[in-house]
C-alpha cells in the first residue's frame, strides 16, 4: 500500500499526487508503473477516451507551469511526476506499445531494439515470409538504383511493389487483430492461460516489428518515387 509522503493518507487513484492533501509526490526508489500512474489495474483493455480525460485532469494539477512560483524541490517533483505521467500516457494510449510495456514489466524479454545494439536490419525474416521478402528486396533495390541514376522507376516494378506493400499492410492489420484477441485472453486468463497468451503475444510482436519495417521501407520507396 502506498501512502502520501506529506499527509500519510493512502492513495486513491494516481500516486503522483495526493487526492487528500494535493501534494505532488517525489519519485522515491520505487516509481509507480504506468498503469499505477493512472490508478489502473494491470490490464491490456484500456478505455483510451477515459485515459485521455484522466491525463488532462492530472496534467492540470502536476504540470511545471503550475509550479513556476513554487520551491525548487516542488518544481523538481512536478517535473519528474509530469515526465512520468507523459511517458505513461504515450505508452498506454497505443495498443501495441501497451502490450510491449506490460510484457516487459511482467518480466518477459521483449524486443531487441534498444541502445547498445545495432538496429534490426540483419534480423532473419520469419520462415514463412522468406520468399516474399526476398522478392520485395529485389524490387526495392531496383527502385533505389533507378533513383540513384536519376531515372524514374519502371512502372511495372512500382506496381508490383505497391501490390506487395498492400499485402504486407493487410498482414499487419490481421496481426493487430490477433494481438487484440490475445490481449483479451491475457486480461481474462490466469496461470497457464495467461502464460500462453503472453508467449503468443511475444511472437506476434517480433513478427510485427519485422513487418512494420518492411511496410515502412515500401512506403518510403513509393513516396520518393511519386
Amino acid at each position: 500500500m502506498m501512502h502520501c509522503a506529506s499527509c500519510r493518507e493512502p492513495f486513491h487513484g494516481s500516486p503522483l499526487i495526493c487526492a487528500a492533501c494535493g501534494a505532488v509526490q517525489s519519485s522515491g526508489v520505487e516509481a509507480p508503473d504506468y498503469f499505477q500512474v493512472f490508478g489502473l489495474e494491470r490490464r491490456l483493455g484500456v478505455d483510451v477516451a477515459a485515459l485521455e480525460r484522466e491525463f488532462h485532469r492530472l496534467s492540470r494539477r502536476l504540470h511545471p507551469d503550475r509550479f513556476a512560483r513554487a520551491t525548487a524541490e516542488e518544481q523538481q517533483n512536478s517535473l519528474r511526476a509530469t515526465a512520468l505521467l507523459n511517458d505513461a500516457w504515450r505508452v498506454l494510449r497505443d495498443p501495441v506499445e501497451r502490450v510491449e510495456y506490460l510484457l516487459k514489466i511482467e518480466g518477459h524479454a521483449v524486443g531487441e531494439e534498444h541502445a547498445g545494439k545495432a538496429r534490426s536490419a540483419e534480423r532473419q525474416p520469419p520462415a514463412d515470409l522468406l520468399e516474399e521478402v526476398f522478392e520485395l528486396n529485389m524490387q526495392l533495390e531496383e527502385i533505389r538504383m533507378s533513383r540513384k541514376m536519376g531515372e524514374t522507376a519502371d512502372a511495372s516494378v512500382l506496381a508490383e511493389l505497391r501490390t506487395a506493400g498492400e499485402r504486407f499492410e493487410a498482414m499487419l492489420d490481421e496481426l493487430d487483430q490477433a494481438l487484440t484477441a490475445e490481449s483479451t485472453k491475457w486480461d481474462a486468463g490466469k496461470g497457464q492461460a495467461r502464460a500462453g497468451a503472453a508467449a503468443r503475444m511475444i511472437e506476434l510482436l517480433d513478427r510485427r516489428r519485422y513487418l512494420w519495417n518492411l511496410v515502412r521501407e515500401v512506403r518510403e520507396a513509393l513516396g520518393a518515387a511519386a
Binding site: R60, H63, D65, A68, L79, A83, N86, D87, A115
Partner: protein, 674 residues
C-alpha cells in the same frame, strides 16, 4: 507587483509584451515602435584619454532601429539575423556564410561556440542576442516603471537542445531569469485561443499553425480541448525564412548589375547592405502590388533600374516556399491527421503576408475547397509575443483569463545514443509530450573498466554522424568489475523547455556514477557568468536611480547625435523651420537632463527623437546612396579584409529566362512604362 514579460526574440524583429489585467499588451520602445529590429551595432570605441586610463574603454552598443544605419554606414561593426547562428558550430554554418555577411572570428575551431567579430571585438551569438534582450528589458522597465527580472522567451519549435540552451543563456546574460522557453507556433496558438478556448460547449478542435518568420519555419499541429493546448506534432526548418527570399532577390540584382553595368558590388559590404535594403522594400511592395521597381544609382553614375512583376517574383521564390511543404506533410502524418481534418489554420510571421505563401497554405490544407480561410486577424509580427505574454500570465497564476489554460508541448527531435558501428539507438521519439523521460542501461566491455563514454544525439537520421551531437558523457567512478557485469542506469529527462538533463547510477554497487557533461556547442555556467552584460543590472541597487541614469544616457546619445548633425550633408536638406524645431527640442533636453525629473527627461528625449525623425530618414537615404556611389578611402580600406562577406548565388541563374519572364510579366503591371 512583479512582472513576468513575454519576449519574442526574432530573427528580424524582437518584441516584448505583458498581460495588463486580462489583456495582452505589446510594449513600444523609446521611438514608439513595437518592433525592435534584431540588429546590434558596436559603437565606436572612445579615444584613449591623454592621462592614460587604467582600464580599457567599456564597449557600448546600439540596438534596434538606431542600429539600422550602422548596417550600411559601418557594416563591419553591425550584425543582423544572429538567431541563425545560435547554438551552432563553425562546421554547420558554411551555407549561412555564403549568404550572410557574418564575420566569424578567424580562430574559432570546429566544436567551439562561435564568436562573431564586430569591429575590434568578438562576441558569442548569445551575447549579441543578450544585447537585444537587454534593450527589450529596458523598454519594458521604462514602460512599466518597475524592474523586470523574469521572462518567458519564445523559440522556434524546431530548435534543438543547443539552440534552446543558447537562448536561455542569452536571457541570463541580459539579467533575465528565463522561466520558460515556449515554442513560437504554440505561443501563437495561445494568443488566438485565448478568447475561445474556455467557452463552454466547445468541442475539441484541430489547429495547424504555419509560422514563416524572418529566418525560421515551423509547423505545429495542435488539439485544443477545454483550455488544454496539446501539441500533436511539430516540424520545421530552423534556417528557412524571409531572409532567404531577400537573399534570392539580392543575388539576382547583384548578378544583373554585374552583367549589365560591369560593376561587381559583392566586395563592398556597405553597397550590398544598401542594395539589400532596396530589395526588401521591393519584396514588401510585392505583397500588396503586382509590380515593384528597383532604381539605384551605381558607382560611376549609372542607374540600375529593374521592374519586378509579381509573376516573376513568385516564380523566383517558389523553391523557397516549396521547402515548407515537406515539413507540413510530415507533421500531419506524425499527428495522424489528414489535411481535411484540420479545423483551423493560423498564419504567423511576417512572411505569411506574401500572397504566394497563403496560396501554398491553402493548397496544403485544402482550405478554400472546404470554404475556410486561414486566421490572420492578429498582427502576424506581434502574435508570438502576445502568446508569450499569455504564457507568462499562466506561470504567474494571477489572471482569471489564463488560469484554465495549459500548454502541453512536444520535443521536435528524437533523442538517441550512438551505438556500436556509429548507428543511432533511439531512446525517445520526436513529438513526445514534454516533460518526458527515458531510461537506458549500459555496461562495460573490458575487465576492470571504470568509465563509459556515451554520446547523446538529437535528430532523425540513422547514423550518428548525420545527427546533432548534444553532449558526450563520461560516466566515471564505476567500481572495477568483470566486463559486462556493471549495470549502469542512465536517465534522460527533457524538461518543459525542451532542454535535456542526464543522470546516472551504477545499480550493482549502488554508486552514483559521476557525469561529466561536455555540451557540444554550449557555454559553461562560468562562461555565461562572465558574459553577463551589466553588473549593475544584477545588483539590487535603487531601481529609480538606475532608471534616471539610463534616461540621462539615452539623452546623451541623442544629444551627441544632434551635435554632429550639421556635419552631415542631410542637414542642409532640412528646412529652416525643421532645424529650428530640432534646436528648440535640444535646448529643452539640455535644460532638464541634469535634473532628477525622470518623466521630464524622457519626454524631452522623445520630443527630440520626433523632431529629428525626418533628419534620420534623410541621413539613411544619404548613407544608402553614398554606399552605392562614392567610396571613401576608409570604406575602400575596409573592403580589403572582408572576403567572408562575399555573397554567392544560391542557385545558378539563367539570365535569359529572367529577361524573358520580365517581358511577359510586364504586360500585367498596373503602371505603364515611363
Amino acid at each position: 507587483m512583479e512582472y513576468i514579460v513575454g519576449i519574442d526574440l526574432g530573427t528580424t524583429n524582437s518584441l516584448v509584451a505583458y498581460m495588463q489585467g486580462d489583456q495582452p499588451v505589446v510594449i513600444p520602445g523609446v521611438d514608439g515602435s513595437n518592433l525592435v529590429p534584431s540588429i546590434v551595432a558596436l559603437d565606436p570605441l572612445p579615444a584613449p584619454t591623454a592621462e592614460g586610463e587604467s582600464s580599457p574603454p567599456r564597449p557600448t552598443v546600439t540596438v534596434g532601429n538606431s542600429a539600422r544605419r550602422a548596417l550600411i554606414a559601418t557594416p563591419e561593426r553591425a550584425i543582423y539575423s544572429v538567431k541563425r547562428l545560435m547554438g551552432r558550430g563553425i562546421e554547420d554554418i558554411a551555407e549561412e556564410l555564403k549568404l550572410f555577411p557574418f564575420r566569424i572570428a578567424p580562430d574559432v575551431q570546429p566544436g567551439e561556440v562561435l564568436r562573431i567579430q564586430l569591429g575590434e571585438m568578438n562576441f558569442t551569438p548569445s551575447e549579441i542576442s543578450a544585447y537585444v534582450l537587454r534593450q527589450l528589458k529596458r523598454n519594458a522597465e521604462r514602460f512599466l516603471g518597475e524592474p523586470v527580472k523574469k521572462a518567458v522567451i519564445t523559440v522556434p519549435a524546431y530548435f534543438n537542445d543547443a539552440q534552446r540552451q543558447a537562448t536561455r543563456d542569452a536571457g541570463r546574460m541580459a539579467g533575465l531569469e528565463v522561466l520558460r522557453l515556449v515554442n513560437e507556433p504554440t505561443a501563437a496558438a495561445l494568443a488566438y485561443g485565448l478568447d475561445r478556448a474556455t467557452e463552454s460547449g466547445q468541442h475539441a478542435r484541430t489547429v495547424a499553425v504555419y509560422d514563416l518568420g524572418g529566418g525560421t519555419f515551423d509547423i505545429s499541429i495542435l488539439k485544443l480541448n477545454d483550455g488544454i493546448f496539446e501539441v500533436m506534432a511539430t516540424n520545421g526548418d530552423t534556417h528557412l525564412g524571409g531572409d532567404d527570399i531577400d537573399n534570392l532577390l539580392l543575388v539576382v540584382a547583384l548578378d544583373e548589375i554585374r552583367t549589365e553595368h560591369g560593376v561587381d558590388l559583392r566586395q563592398q559590404p556597405d553597397a550590398v547592405q544598401a542594395l539589400r535594403k532596396a530589395v526588401i522594400e521591393a519584396k514588401i511592395t510585392l505583397s500588396a502590388e503586382t509590380t515593384a521597381k528597383l532604381d539605384i544609382e551605381l558607382p560611376g553614375g549609372d542607374r540600375y533600374q529593374r521592374e519586378i512583376p509579381r509573376a516573376v517574383y513568385e516564380q523566383l521564390i517558389a523553391p523557397v516556399l516549396e521547402r515548407t511543404a515537406g515539413p507540413c506533410r510530415q507533421a500531419l502524418s506524425d499527428a495522424g491527421v489528414r489535411p481535411e481534418q484540420i479545423d483551423e489554420v493560423v498564419l504567423v510571421g511576417g512572411s505569411t503576408r506574401i500572397p504566394a505563401v497563403r496560396r501554398l497554405v491553402d493548397e496544403i490544407f485544402q482550405l478554400n475547397a472546404r470554404g475556410r480561410r486561414p486566421h490572420m486577424e492578429l498582427n502576424p509580427d506581434e502574435v508570438v509575443a502576445v502568446g508569450a505574454a499569455v504564457q507568462a500570465s499562466i506561470l504567474a497564476g494571477n489572471s482569471a483569463a489564463t488560469d484554465q489554460l495549459l500548454l502541453l508541448d512536444v520535443t521536435p527531435l528524437s533523442l538517441g545514443i550512438e551505438a556500436l558501428g556509429g548507428v543511432v539507438a533511439r531512446v525517445l521519439q520526436r513529438n513526445s509530450t514534454i516533460p518526458a523521460s527515458a531510461t537506458e542501461h549500459f555496461t562495460t566491455g573490458v575487465e576492470g573498466q571504470t568509465n563509459v563514454a556515451i554520446h547523446v544525439l538529437q535528430g532523425e537520421r540513422e547514423l550518428a554522424k548525420d545527427c546533432r551531437s548534444l553532449a558526450r558523457f563520461d560516466l566515471k567512478g564505476i567500481p572495477p568489475m568483470p566486463a559486462g557485469l556493471p549495470r549502469i542506469e542512465v536517465k534522460f529527462l527533457i524538461d518543459a523547455n525542451g532542454i535535456l538533463q542526464v543522470s546516472a547510477r551504477e545499480q550493482r554497487s549502488g554508486t552514483e556514477a559521476q557525469i561529466e557533461v561536455k555540451p557540444t556547442y554550449g557555454l559553461t555556467d562560468e562562461q555565461v557568468e562572465a558574459m553577463i552584460l551589466d553588473s549593475f543590472d544584477h545588483a539590487e541597487s535603487d531601481f529609480a536611480e538606475r532608471q534616471l541614469i539610463e534616461a540621462r544616457l539615452e539623452a546623451d546619445t541623442i544629444l551627441s547625435a544632434v551635435a554632429k548633425a550639421p556635419e552631415n550633408g542631410a542637414w542642409q536638406r532640412l528646412t529652416d523651420a525643421e532645424r529650428a524645431a530640432i534646436f528648440a527640442a535640444r535646448d529643452r533636453l539640455i535644460a532638464v537632463q541634469p535634473g532628477s525629473d525622470l518623466k521630464a527627461i524622457r519626454e524631452a528625449t522623445t520630443a527630440l527623437d520626433q523632431a529629428t525623425r525626418r533628419f534620420a530618414e534623410l541621413m539613411m537615404d544619404q548613407a544608402v546612396s553614398q554606399a552605392m556611389r562614392g567610396k571613401t578611402m576608409e570604406a575602400a580600406n575596409r573592403t580589403l579584409n572582408v572576403d567572408q562577406a562575399e555573397i554567392h548565388a544560391p542557385h545558378p541563374f539563367a539570365q535569359a529566362e529572367i529577361e524573358e519572364n520580365a517581358a511577359v510579366g510586364s504586360g500585367e503591371t498596373r503602371e505603364g512604362n515611363e
